[in-house]
Symmetry: none
DNA sequence: AGAGAATTGTCACGAAGTGTAACCGGGGCG
DNA sequence: CGCCCCGGTTACACTTCGTGACAATTCTCT
């Protein structure tokens, strides 16, 4: 069981990425490197992170832009890195949602200190209270209301879900078209690791399909990838 | 069974190209040589690669320019080779998107070590079913929906595909009228190399034909080129 | 707190998907 | 004309999945 804070290090320079990752790990944190915005998104989708260290200057999607997106969602704190030591950049960074800022070149110990400071400020157990309350999510011909645990058809037919069916469905809905294996699903849904030959998720999927698929023997919404896992094959949009 | 990482080695010097290719293969990787940017593009189109080793100095399109294009697409990591050991080049290389850099002349073992390091970092948890999700593709008298894995006739008749039939069909649909041999098909479909006497693809083709050909004993859509491979003989258009 | 109901995890068995081997048949070439 | 190479297809083995049954756990209501 590993409940150390998990840090995602996003920087396009290998040396910085790797040395930061190693340094954080040596100091008792978990750290995962990502090369750019694309890789970052992939890792965010399949893992749980407590903080993102983000370089401002990156090819592809720029750090500032990434930061704006992330902080709009607002669920993971951000520490920005930049080569420019100018005050204006600091202001801009903090304005668009970063939680702190550090100019390159920096002392790794200072980085660590700031990471810990942010974690102290932000570690509150509201992590997934937010994801399961007061949301309405539409996908395929269904609308899900997370408060009442009720799925409503476009014809008005209603199905209610049990707690764990709801969690599993939300995990899938938050990652449409992404292939998730049983380990990841169990981790994201229940926060625990799968034991070998664990068929829990299969069963949950089976029960969920019985409720949401038109023909549960020919699933179209939740598809199976043999040897891979499961995938929500539908477009999803959040209502408010 | 071979799902070793697949490396594309791009260098205009035959000796380097070949010795690197051989060395990587001796050490348990798959490696394919390419002489220049043109050949590289061809191989990328008909194979699935996990990393590209790219020489900076090349006739035709220059390595730096190639690298910029590739990293803009951003789906295959790059290790740059250069004869110049200057720091500026290193920075430039990394800035435009290379994942690592190695100066010639280099020790093959160091190259291997760096390749493995990049692969460790970039092997994502489980990527999008990317090309397999949310698409509708029309060809001949069929329409394929990749989400539901369903082929629909113009009369409305429907056929279900299995996961691997779908993958194979999409590989073909993305390369209409191009002859693909068994190695290429297996690489593109499953990311692995064919073992000698591997009849996997023949079987998949047979199963696919049974589902999509009007007369499976006289295939019109997927034609065989004796000694060559298979070819999708139909026009394809993507719907949205 | 305890009884009963609902939910969830585990086990087991059958079904389906996929790779491998073997056999068959056709066409080209000597 | 017969051999041989190559591809088509069938059969089968092995793995992975789906799901009913039941046990364990949690929830609810008194």
């Amino acid at each position: 069981m590993n409940d150390q804070p998990h840090i995602l290090v996003v920087d396009d320079h290998r040396e910085i990425r790797d040395s930061v990752t190693r340094y954080l790990e040596k100091n008792g944190l978990r750290a995962t490197p990502a090369r750019d915005a694309v890789e970052m998104d992939a890792k965010l989708a399949t893992g749980q992170f407590d903080l993102i260290v983000l370089d401002v200057m990156m090819p592809g999607e720029d750090g500032l832009s990434v930061c704006r997106h992330l902080s709009a969602k607002g669920d993971v704190p951000i520490l920005m890195l930049t080569a420019l030591g100018e005050e204006t950049d600091r202001i801009v960074g903090l304005e668009i949602g970063a939680d702190d800022y550090l100019a390159k070149p920096f002392n790794p110990r200072e980085l660590l200190a700031r990471i810990k400071a942010i974690l102290r400020r932000t570690t509150l157990p509201e992590t997934y209270a937010g994801t399961l309350s007061g949301r309405r999510i539409a996908f395929a011909h269904w609308t899900l209301d997370t408060d009442s645990r009720l799925l409503t058809d476009e014809d008005g037919a209603q199905v209610d879900l049990t707690g764990s069916e709801l969690k599993l469905l939300v995990v899938l809905l938050e990652r449409p078209r992404l292939v998730l294996n049983r380990d990841q699903l169990l981790d994201l849904k229940a926060g625990r690791a799968a034991s070998p030959f664990d068929r829990t998720i299969d069963n949950q999927i089976s029960r969920l399909r019985r409720k949401i698929e038109a023909d549960p023997s020919r699933p179209r919404l939740i598809t199976t990838l043999r040897g891979g896992g499961y995938c929500l094959a539908a477009d999803v949009r959040e209502l408010d």
